[in-house]
Symmetry: D2
Subunit: 250 residues, 4 copies
């Protein structure tokens, strides 16, 4: 039996559907002072002229208007990323591939060459810091990368066939998968609203300028940055205000 | 100072925006067994051929796929309706008119002539029952209705001018409104997903055929039935399955 | 029929039960770095020596450890307070008196004499400011207060008997109450955890030193300050850290 | 370097703290009809005499009173169990061991000898069925078990040293762990309330008598049954009613 393992550093985020926009956030906020007439703001051309209102909502942390929009993503990421993502409970919906009902594909994660991945001296829980292989190994960085990736690949190549062997014994797939490494990929649909999305971004991206600097895992930040692009494209004023006021979710 | 009071039985529900459909629910559910390939089901023409899957999800109460769609409503309803609606916490977003920042309009609720509104003998908490005025008063029903409505209108006509007088004293609007009756109308935006919406419907509509028969307040049921129309129109298979399996939210 | 109306400025908050403490927050946080051994921190005498950890969690906004404690309150407050409180959806549980199943007691709210209640010139939505009657009316403040309260009381005295009359017509209590003013009191049980409680406090108390200055309604702040006492007493380090870092919920 | 791997079938659930009881559920429910006087029911001896009320709440699915209690657990379980558990978002709080900040212990899961683990003919997604090794292999069951466990152990013995080697290269622990199998154990604190707990139980335990029969993974059911013991002990009437009415969460 030969099983081809695919190793990759790619994390896929695809916008499936979305709804709303900056104008809906404006209109929802206007309900508090305008009641029914707020509906007239629910038009796309009303967004830009109400930029000030969105900035005010973000600055003062009036969060609820940012819930009246919606985004659904398809995301393909390693299980160790899902382990973190699924901890976001509020305003997030998930449907994930199930290893109980489907044989997982032999797709596994390896870090890209330039991922900062070597612990540095003042590393400590809560604010870990890492250097790239180039910074640490200089001319030997290629060799170091090769060694790390080879190690990972060896593990994947050991474990996926083991998984297949166990399945071949007619073992419960929910048990056969116990040896699969957390580096294996899984697909999941993720739906959220701009408010819950910004809460996710504030914790899962690193920015020295942020009001609360987060130190996320590299791989979830890769996914978060892609998700952030969808926010920036569909809700440009909301996103700009989010950045302006320190990437703190309202 | 003459203030014209408007009394009405109308409860307005207007769909502002929506996103998704039965096909999105199918596709989200397919992720568990098909992974990335589930995306191919995210097309409108894939809904009908997967009616069986939606029925299965509803019957077995697999709820999460029903979260990958979205609806936003404008609702104009009396405060006593909002008091109940706002207790729905999960999967619901609200932005309401604020009596602290805006003078509420003089619009007040009276029951429609045919609302069952007279307590009957075996009334008890949790499953109240009511008869219509016609059933109770026969030929005198018009007079009874007139008396009830006159009483309500008198109250509204007493209290709204009082509110305006207090505002005229430059009183904090958040205090001046303390005398306003809960029958006054307020506008609110409500966003939800089909799953949270069905949880709302299961509690806020009455159906003898329901698995768990609810005894909602008449007025919130009026609103709920209008909201249900939007679900039935945009997610017809989901809605039909909801009805088929006893109006129990998955 | 003579019905005695009771008017009061009192808002009651009573702690019914609580669970946990600063040591549980320490222990829950320690799980991330100590796994099972974190259990040894789940002792009351471990709180003080880990003050630095709680301060760090609060400062860096690591919120989840603050969820492993619990408080239940009995609260007696006017409906207009509940209208705001019930908008707190996450980490809050409510069971309230029902006007559909119980005749509400004739207890109504009036402001205390020293409540800042007169709008001042630069009042604007989102950051309203008010002066006390003394500041505005000087020697005539007593008279002004008398006039305001008399107006309120008159309304209450009009509407409660109307409510009773409608009940006397065997009207659905859920309809008979439509004329009741939002100043009437209602009882509710409120359960939450320290994290959700701090989110509530950050929005419902005013503090010039807060990172995000809120402008809550006077009456909900009265309730919030009492609730805050329970937090300060049972979770003193958590509360001190909350105050130290700008009253922003982690 | 010799690293001792520990393999086990044990899943640990330990109650850390709890709060409330059947009487608190009674009292919270009584608020709707008794207001402030409901407090008198908040005594332990009031539970038994109000058994009928708890049964009624459960039967009619009045869920909120069941939120006024609280439980915190320490749980030691394999990552593949956490992957499922963490999908319970509402009314659940988690703090888990972090492989980014702590070296995970070499403790791995193997199935107990009598776990039904062989797929049977009519297996299908959503309602998988399994037989025990004895049922399938008869006298050869011991050998079959030995083979399956040996396979698993080999994987664990390959991967944990690989993990340690990667850590030895000063690799980001959040990357070094990518080869760790999902069968490795992790510790987590879980807090919830009886309502959210029953929602968990209804999906994560199998009972042919249940209104909606669930087909959970064996291992999460083991954990769920232990959690259920804590509910049954501290809230005996609630638990009995949960069972009586088909293990459907209210």
């Amino acid at each position: 039996m030969t099983i081809e393992i695919r190793i990759t550093s790619e994390i896929t985020v695809r916008l499936i559907q979305s709804c709303g926009g900056d104008h809906m956030i404006v209109a929802a906020a206007k309900v508090s002072t305008n009641g029914e007439e707020a509906l007239q703001y629910a038009k796309e051309d009303k967004a830009e002229e109400n930029r000030g209102l969105i900035r005010y909502l973000m600055k003062m942390r009036h969060g609820t208007p940012f819930e009246h929009s919606f985004l659904s993503f398809f995301v393909h990421a390693p299980i160790f990323v899902w382990r973190e993502w699924h901890r976001h409970r509020i305003g997030f919906s998930y449907n994930e591939e199930s290893a109980r009902y489907k044989q997982l594909d032999p797709v596994f994660y390896i870090p890209p060459r330039d991922r900062p991945m070597v612990k540095v001296g003042d590393w400590k829980p809560g604010r870990p810091k890492f250097k790239t292989l180039d910074e640490v190994y200089g001319n030997n960085a290629d060799a170091a990368y090769y060694e790390i990736v080879r190690e990972m690949r060896h593990g994947y190549e050991e474990e996926y066939p083991r998984y297949v062997r166990q399945l071949g014994r007619d073992l419960d797939p929910g048990l056969a998968r116990d040896n699969l490494p957390v580096g294996i990929y899984s697909s999941c649909w993720v739906s959220c609203n701009p408010r819950s999305l910004m809460a996710f971004l504030s914790l899962r991206t690193h920015d020295q300028e942020a009001r609360h600097v987060s130190y996320p895992l590299y791989e979830i930040e890769v996914a978060a940055r892609k998700v952030e692009e969808a926010l920036a494209k569909g809700w440009p004023i909301t996103h700009a205000s989010f950045v302006e006021f320190g990437r703190a979710a309202p």
